[in-house]
Symmetry: C2
Subunit: 407 residues, 2 copies
């Protein structure tokens, strides 16, 4: 059986997705959201000519010939602080003391820095003959009103939000944060804090996926666990499909005999199961369920495989659901190069994701790479990507690493 590439599987997932609807939100609410339409400046930036230095606002011609040895002396009309909103005028042959960022008075065309003066408050001796425009930030030199300042599809971070505010844009159209249903299946699963019977384990996956969804800026919908029977799972999936933009299941899709998830899904949707050329995380599934054709991604049940799969498939899916430009190659987007701090072996024919501790450009493999070992996940902050053709990473090799969400 030939394996799917990661790119093929991700592209197939993306083909099932439609962006969430667009809502208008205030700028604080827009943090982490994706802009749905280009944003246009409502004002010039800066909005008025202002001083780039503490100094004296002058008409350049009034300082003609001034120098260290032959200062020009001008009467000081007053002070203009930053934030001054008075409409002021510079009369020929006079000067205003002016602060950095303060509006230039009408008629002024240059600034003499305070360092080239005697600092006078009644009269000032200026030791520079500035060219017109010196130390003046002109209106609109950063951004012009009407100019597109951000394209659709960008994620709104604090710097971009500050730009929108400065450009006098009070609210923006963004894609609603996707709601992601998380369903774990398995009769052996119990809540943390339970007394565990023989063979029972705590359901750590649904917690992990819920917090990964949160860390990715989406809205988790953590449903009660499904039991290992068709009716229980069918009910959960119906609930999820009705309420969520994307449904995640974990567990129940091993290649063995006990695959309730597969059986149920084949009845209520079009879901493809595939072996993907990656380790961990080979058994994957995706498709749509219910009348609304709600997209679903079925993740493997072991914690490490689920963690890797979330970063490789679910994270780009969340980007696509918010109108960001992604394609099958986007799982590598944002990977950072690092040097292997130590060597390790890797599997041939599959892309291997090795848990590493990334620090100061070095990637150190975590101990306990067995996919059942959650202990080592607690120390890792990235997965190193080791390509299918590489069977051994040596200390000093360059490896690209996917930083884990929330670390």
């Amino acid at each position: 059986m030939s394996l799917r590439t990661i790119e093929e599987h991700l592209a197939a997932i993306l083909a099932t997705l439609r962006p969430t609807d667009v809502i208008e939100v205030t700028l604080v609410e827009a943090l982490g959201r994706t802009l749905a339409q280009p944003a246009v400046a409502q004002v010039d930036l800066p909005g008025f000519a202002n001083s780039a230095m503490d100094g004296y606002a002058v008409r350049a011609e009034d300082c003609a010939g001034a120098s260290e040895s032959a200062p020009v002396e001008l009467p000081v009309v007053g002070d203009i602080p930053a934030g001054d909103t008075r409409s002021l005028r510079l009369e020929p042959g006079t000067t205003w003391r002016i602060m950095t960022g303060a509006p230039l008075p009408d008629g002024a065309d240059a600034i003499v820095p305070v360092e080239l003066s005697d600092g006078g408050t009644q009269t000032a001796r200026l030791r520079l003959a500035p060219e017109a425009g010196l130390h003046v930030r002109s209106r609109g030199e950063d951004v012009r009103a009407g100019e597109e300042i951000l394209p659709a599809g960008v994620v709104l971070n604090p710097g971009r939000l500050a730009l929108l505010a400065a450009a006098n844009v009070p609210q923006v159209p963004v894609h609603r944060a996707p709601t992601v249903a998380v369903i774990s299946t398995g009769d052996e699963l119990q809540d943390a804090g339970s007394v565990l019977g023989h063979g029972q384990i705590v359901d750590s996956n649904s917690l992990m996926l819920t917090t990964l969804v949160l860390a990715a800026g989406a809205t988790p919908l953590r449903l009660p666990r499904a039991r290992d029977d068709g009716d229980s799972l069918r009910a959960r999936l119906a609930e999820a499909a009705a309420a969520a933009d994307l449904v995640l299941t974990t567990g129940g899709v091993s290649m063995g005999a006990y695959d309730t998830v597969k059986e149920v899904l084949s009845g209520i949707g079009t879901v493809t199961f595939a072996k993907v050329a990656m380790r961990p995380g080979m058994p994957q599934g995706h498709g749509v369920i219910g009348d609304q054709e709600r997209p679903i991604i079925t993740l493997p049940g072991n914690p490490l495989s689920a963690m890797v799969s979330f970063h490789v498939f679910v994270r780009p899916a969340l980007a696509a659901l918010q109108g960001q430009p992604v394609d099958g190659r986007s799982w590598r987007a944002g990977a950072v190069p690092a040097r292997a701090g130590a060597g390790w072996r890797s599997v041939s024919g599959k892309t291997e994701f090795t848990r590493v501790r990334l620090a100061d450009g070095e990637a150190w493999p975590a101990t306990g790479q067995g996919s059942h070992m959650v202990g080592a996940l607690a120390d890792a902050n990235a997965f190193a990507i080791v390509g299918p053709e590489t069977t051994e990473v040596s200390a000093g090799d360059e490896v690209h690493c996917i930083r884990l969400l929330g670390t």
Copy 2:
């Protein structure tokens, strides 16, 4: 006037901080919080011996002598799926078919992988003589009950939360998320969406700081703006000191004549103003105000300086408020090495923070490095740290970069 180093200033800020109180929260609520006490596993991990492969559970001695040419044939008692909670027993001379992760039946001590069998369901022909323990994950081999699994002071990310859940820890003591008051001052400031009069600008800083606080996982308290008079600012500061764990102000601390913030603060607290050897962001202040000695950090008023200052001083302060181990050098923690994509000049005698676009290990300087230019902030995702002794960065040089929050 000699300049303070960044380390000196940060250490002075940290000396004013006390960790927030400790609360017990569920694991979902604990995402991004800092663990206040070491966490101890409540169960062994794995909690029971289980199979590392799909295959057959056997007593090793029953397969003695088995090989490719001379298989051993054993009757198959039944199947053990992952998640099986029955208490099962392996009688000598028999085998159970077993799935990866499924509990070993009592009496079994090894697994023969399915690949080394005929896959039989009634009887199985096994072509391997395993040593005892082969492909068995033993109880507690990952974590032992009673073992410390996470130390105090770590930030709880999805991987660590999954570990806590798996170890049957349902809730944890964490430091309460700090509440951070944000106060901007200036009569010229208006809300986004206003009609701007002469000299008026939109207050983008308080939005930027509010969203940076959110992106850092703390709780912002955005207060109405203070006007440029003592009474207005005094009232805001009293409100902030009563409600917040940390107070941030922006603006009003230039070295010029119009420093309402300085005047007011000297009356209600112990606040030190300093020039720090950095660009942008030289004028800094910090101290405590009010009867509760609430810590305050006064940030410069221009957007880029405020952005840099937040990452260099406020972010480590938020870590300290949550009991994380930080000191004056922690402003560099998490900086990543990169290669300069192009060259740029830098100032001598100060650490310069150059806005860069960091992609695939290369740092490209953003255009418009003037500290008033918010436009270029929208494209930057990191600040490159250029040390005080470096006046020129050449293409290909290694530079360490601080990734911007929320990018």
